[in-house]
Amino acid sequence: MNTRPFRRVLVANRGEIAVRIVRGCHERGLEAVAVYSEADADALHVRVADAAECIGPPSSAESYLVADTLMDVAARLGCDAVHPGYGFLSENAAFAQRVIDAGLVWIGPPPEAISAMGSKTAARQAMHSAGVPVVPGTLHAISGADEALERGREIGFPLMLKAASGGGGKGMRLVHEEHELADALLGAQSEALKSFGDDSVYLERAIVDPRHVEIQILADAHGTVVHLFERDCSIQRRHQKVVEEAPCPVLEPATRDAMALAAVRAARAVDYVGAGTCEFLLGADGEFFFLEMNTRLQVEHPISECITGVDLVQAQLRVAAGEPLWFTQDDLQIHGHAIECRIYAEDVRNNFRPAPGPLAVYREPSGPWVRVDSGVVQGMEIPIHYDPMVAKLVVWGATRDEAIGRARRALRDYRVVGTTTSIPFFLALFEDPDFLSGQYTTGFITPEWLEAHMEPPEECVERGLVAAVITRFEADLALDSAEQTADVSAWKRTARWREAARGWR
C-alpha cells in the first residue's frame, strides 16, 4: 500500500463532497486542486479550492469520469495525491491503480480491495469464507433459467435477482413466484449488460421489509481496523437513501457488537485501508446479513462523525499519509444521536421527480449542532446533469428526541425559493408516529403515505396565491414605470423593485 505524506490533493469530484474534501485539506494545511465541468464553472467547490481547471463539457462521461484528463491536470498542477470522493471513479480499481502507478498517493483503499468488493459475487464469496453471514443465495452468477429455477427453489421465494457488477438498484428484479423467474432473468441480464457491460446475475432471497443498517469502518496501513458504530439508512426512495440516523434506534447492543465484528472481519479479509462501509440488511427477528461493502467515503458519513467526534476526511488524509490511527476502539463511544436529511431539488408529490431550478433565495439554517454540507450558493442554478442534491442537513442532539426537535427547527428555518425541494417531506416524516417511535423499514415511503402527508394546507395555498399576485403586480408596475420615463433614478428604483419582486437573478 503506497502511503506517504503529500501536499497537494487533486479533488476528483464536485458538489458538496468536493467542498468537504477541500475544507478537510485546508484544515490539515494541504493544498487542494478542484476540477469542474462547464456546468460547474461557478460552483462553490471551485471557489474554495486553491486552483481549479475545467475538465470538459457538462456530461459526467465527458468530464468527471475521464481519467486521462484528471491525470493530466494532476500532473500539470503538481498534485501528489488524489481524493476521489464518492460516486464517479471512487470505486474504479483501474483508476486507483493508475494513480498509484503514476507515483501519486491514492486517498482510498488498495485497488485489490476495491476489486474484491466491486464484484458483488466475489464479495459474497469472500464474506462467506470469512464467516460473515450473507443474504442466503448463490455465490456465483447463474448460468441460465434452469439453474435459476433449481437454486430459486432451494433459496426460497420471494427472490431477488441482482447484477454481479451492479449497484444503484439497476439490474435488479424482485421475483415473487416461479413462473415469473425466466422473464425476470432475461430482464435483469439485459439491464445489467446495458448498465455495467456484464450480464452476470446472481440470486438472493429477498428479505422482506428489512432495515438497512451499515457499519462505518476505518483502517490504517499498519493493520489497525476500528469501527465507528452503525447508521440506519432505511428511509429510502427508489433504493436511494434520504434520511439516515446514528445510532440505529432499535439495535440491540449484542446485535451491534456482532455486526461491528462482522464488518471488521470483512475489512480485514480484503486488507482494507482507509474509510469504508459494510452494509447489512437487518430482519425483524434481529437476524442480519451482509449486503455489500462500499470502498469509499459515503454521503452519510457526517452522522458517524457527530456521534463519535472523529473527522473522517481528516482520518482519510492522515491514513493516506502513512499515519497510524491516533485512537483505539476502546476510545470510541456513541455520544448522543445524529440525523441527516438529504435535501434534493425534487418534487416529492410528483414521485420525487427531479426539479432543477434557480436558487433565487437560498439561506441555510444554523445554530448549535446544526451542520449543513452543501455545494450550492444563492444565485446558482441546480445543474441537470448530475444528481439533484441541494445539501445535507445534519443535526446532533444529546438524545434522539432532541435531535429530531433540532431537525424540525432547522428545516423550518431553511429558506429556498425558486426551486422545489424535499424539505416538506422531512417535516412530515418528523411528525410521523412510526418514525418517532423508531419503528420503520425500507418499505416506509409509499405512495399512500405521500398522498396522506404531503398536501400543503389550504391556508398556505391561499397565502401563496396572494403573494404571487402581489409579486407579479409590483414587477409589472416597475416595468411600466421604467418604460414611461427615461429618468435614471427611476431605472435605479426599478432595478431594486425588480430584484425585490423577482428574487436575485
Binding site: G418, A468, V469, R502
Partner: protein
C-alpha cells in the same frame, strides 16, 4: 390590476391595488380585503406578519410558504392572448423540466395507444417516459435523440382519432 391566477389546481381572477401599508385584494370580484406587508429583501415578502419566499420568472412565481414549495401562474389576461392561442392542446407532449432526449420509439405517422411511450427524456440520471394521453396518430416529433431541452419544450404532437 387584474390577473388570472392558478395555483395547486385552484383558479381565480384577482384584482390587486396598492393601499395603505401594503395592498388590497379581491378574488373573483368578491369583497376587498387589505393585506399588510412589504418586500423585506429580494425574494422575501412579508404578508400579514409572515414571510413568503417569492421568485418571478416569466408568468411563473415560485413560492416558499411555511416550507412548502408552491408554484403559481399569474397571467395578465390582456397580454396573454397570443400565448394562450398557441398553448398546449390535449395532444401536445411537452417537458416540464430540462433534459436530454435519449429515445424516440415511435415515428411520425405511427398509430399509438393511450399510455404508449412516445419520447424518453433523461434528466438527473433518471429516464422520464412521456406517454400518449389518448389513442391517436403521431402527428409531429419536434425533437431528435441527443437534443438538450429546456423546460416547457414541446416534444411531440398526437392527433386524436376522430
Amino acid at each position: 390590476m387584474r390577473y388570472q391566477v392558478s395555483i395547486e389546481g385552484r383558479e381565480a381572477m384577482v384584482d390587486v391595488e396598492r393601499a395603505d401599508g401594503g395592498w388590497r385584494i379581491r378574488l373573483d370580484q368578491g369583497p376587498w380585503r387589505s393585506v399588510q406587508g412589504r418586500f423585506v429583501q429580494p425574494g422575501e415578502l412579508r404578508l400579514d406578519g409572515a414571510i413568503v419566499g417569492v421568485h418571478l420568472r416569466g408568468d411563473e412565481v415560485s413560492l416558499q410558504v411555511e416550507s412548502h414549495p408552491l408554484v403559481a401562474t399569474v397571467v395578465d389576461p390582456r397580454r396573454a392572448g397570443a400565448e394562450a392561442a398557441g398553448a398546449a392542446s390535449e395532444g401536445t407532449l411537452s417537458t416540464p423540466m430540462p433534459g436530454v432526449v435519449v429515445r424516440i420509439p415511435v415515428a411520425v405517422g405511427d398509430a399509438v395507444k393511450m399510455g404508449q411511450v412516445v419520447i424518453v427524456v433523461e434528466a438527473m440520471k433518471m429516464e422520464n417516459e412521456f406517454k400518449a394521453a389518448h389513442d391517436g396518430v403521431v402527428e409531429a416529433i419536434e425533437v431528435s435523440v441527443g437534443d438538450t431541452l429546456e423546460s416547457g419544450a414541446v416534444l411531440a404532437r398526437i392527433a386524436s382519432e376522430a
